[in-house]
Amino acid sequence: MDSVMLITFWLMTGAFIGGVVTPVLAADKKVNGWLAMAGGVVVGMIGHIVLLIPVWLGLSRAPRLDDHRPAWQRDAISLNGVRQSAVPTVGEQTQSLAALLRDNFWPRARADRAHSHRQTYVGVFVALALITAVEVAISFWESAPINVAIPLSILSAAKVMLVVLFFMHLRYDSKWYSWIFAFSLPFAIIVLAVLAVAD
């Protein structure tokens, strides 16, 4: 009954719009105003029937649900609801900043009790930061007794070794990877030497 009333109301709206607009549009034309209104009513109704086609197409293609409860009841158990209810929310508000940082940035220990590299990585990072600071300090040293290029080269080589051995895991991985990487070094040294002596 609801749908019949809705459709009737919809068609009457179309007839009303057509009946009002058409005489206005036809005011300058040599057409009887009442005739224009009658035509407008018919065209408006037909137009609103045409407009119903996409709605009908959409409804007819919607998946049929055996559940005829209202949508708010039907969707009460949704995937999102299940997901959200799975996340524990206890104590979220009372977390301290340290706990927040730890939860978001400190990796857990390995589940299989394998050795975790967390402390190693932090240590290597601190070493890299310190060496960088020392390097910059040395570069400001005006009255150095020796050429500062020598300690600077050694320190930056140490940094490279730290990154390659620990961050790139060459210390723990198969020796073959180290050999492949080292294989390119003679080439690098030759290029450096040739370019440095060339005029």
Partner: protein
């Protein structure tokens, strides 16, 4: 179980890959189907390089490369078993061979810079170089390397949230480094050091290629983050993250050397 929950479960089955038990043997590894995407990337790269001669091909090659990379990003993550002959992981082996070739590439650039420096001294350029800014950039890059290893450690212990936080931090730090480089370039250019000076040529080529590598890494990292969002990586399957880490640390290593050679030694 009511019907709609059953429908939902059926729907999810269509979208989720079948879950494999831990320790699936070599027979149960699902290889990705053959793909044309690497060929597209190679073709795009060739067009991109031809752009050196015909500049219009720059854009075309770049677009083709992006399309290929985008297709490759949809590959499933497969953690290959070690090769039966070498007992090495083929993907990792390929990455190390690539890094070895990169060592040769950058050694040529750095060698040229050092040779020019020995001949010319570059003393006047040293007055213009912004050492404090470059120190900040170096720190940013080292911190980003640290972020990558912490992210890798997190995903290896199955902690996806910590993993994604560190990777996001890496993305921000990488972009910050590129931004700092842009400021440095603009500063030098305003001081009259352009491509007509010897220092300008050496500096822009060397740091420019390094910056391109950082940008490439940032693009790779963005794809990696999309895959992480999709849930591709786990405690059992994280080689993709490790390979990205190798590349990113290598770019960091190159900058450690460049920073010493360009900024510190004079």
């Amino acid at each position: 179980m009511s019907t709609d929950v059953q429908l939902l479960a059926d729907d999810m089955q269509d979208h989720l890959a079948p879950i494999e038990p831990d320790g699936a043997g070599p027979d149960e590894v699902h290889m990705p189907p053959p793909s044309i995407a690497p060929i597209i990337v190679g073709f795009g790269a060739a067009l991109f390089l031809l752009g050196l001669i015909f500049p219009v091909l720059f854009a075309v090659g770049f677009v083709v490369m992006v399309v290929g990379v985008w297709k490759m990003a949809h590959f499933p993550e497969v953690d290959l078993h070690p090769n039966w002959l070498t007992f090495l992981n083929d993907r990792k082996l390929g990455m190390w061979v690539f890094l070895a070739s990169e060592v040769m590439f950058f050694s040529a650039l750095i060698g040229a810079f050092v040779a020019f420096k020995i001949q010319e001294g570059f003393e006047e350029a040293h007055e213009v170089l912004n050492l404090p800014l470059a120190t900040v950039g170096t720190s940013v890059l080292i911190i980003s390397s640290f972020a990558v290893v912490m992210g890798l450690e997190a995903i290896q212990s199955g902690d996806r949230r910590v993993f994604r936080n560190w990777m996001l931090a890496t993305l921000v730090l990488g972009l910050t480094f590129v931004g700092i480089q842009a400021i440095e370039w603009a500063e030098l250019f305003n001081h009259g050091i352009d491509e007509t000076t010897l220092f300008g040529t050496a500096f822009y080529v060397t740091t420019g290629f390094h910056g391109l590598h950082v940008l490439g890494g940032v693009g790779w990292l963005a794809l990696l983050l999309l895959k992480a969002r999709r849930g591709d990586y786990s405690a059992q399957n994280n080689l993709g993250v490790e390979l990205f880490g190798l590349y990113w640390h290598f770019v960091d290593v190159v900058w450690i050397v460049l920073f010493t050679v360009i900024y510190l030694i004079h």
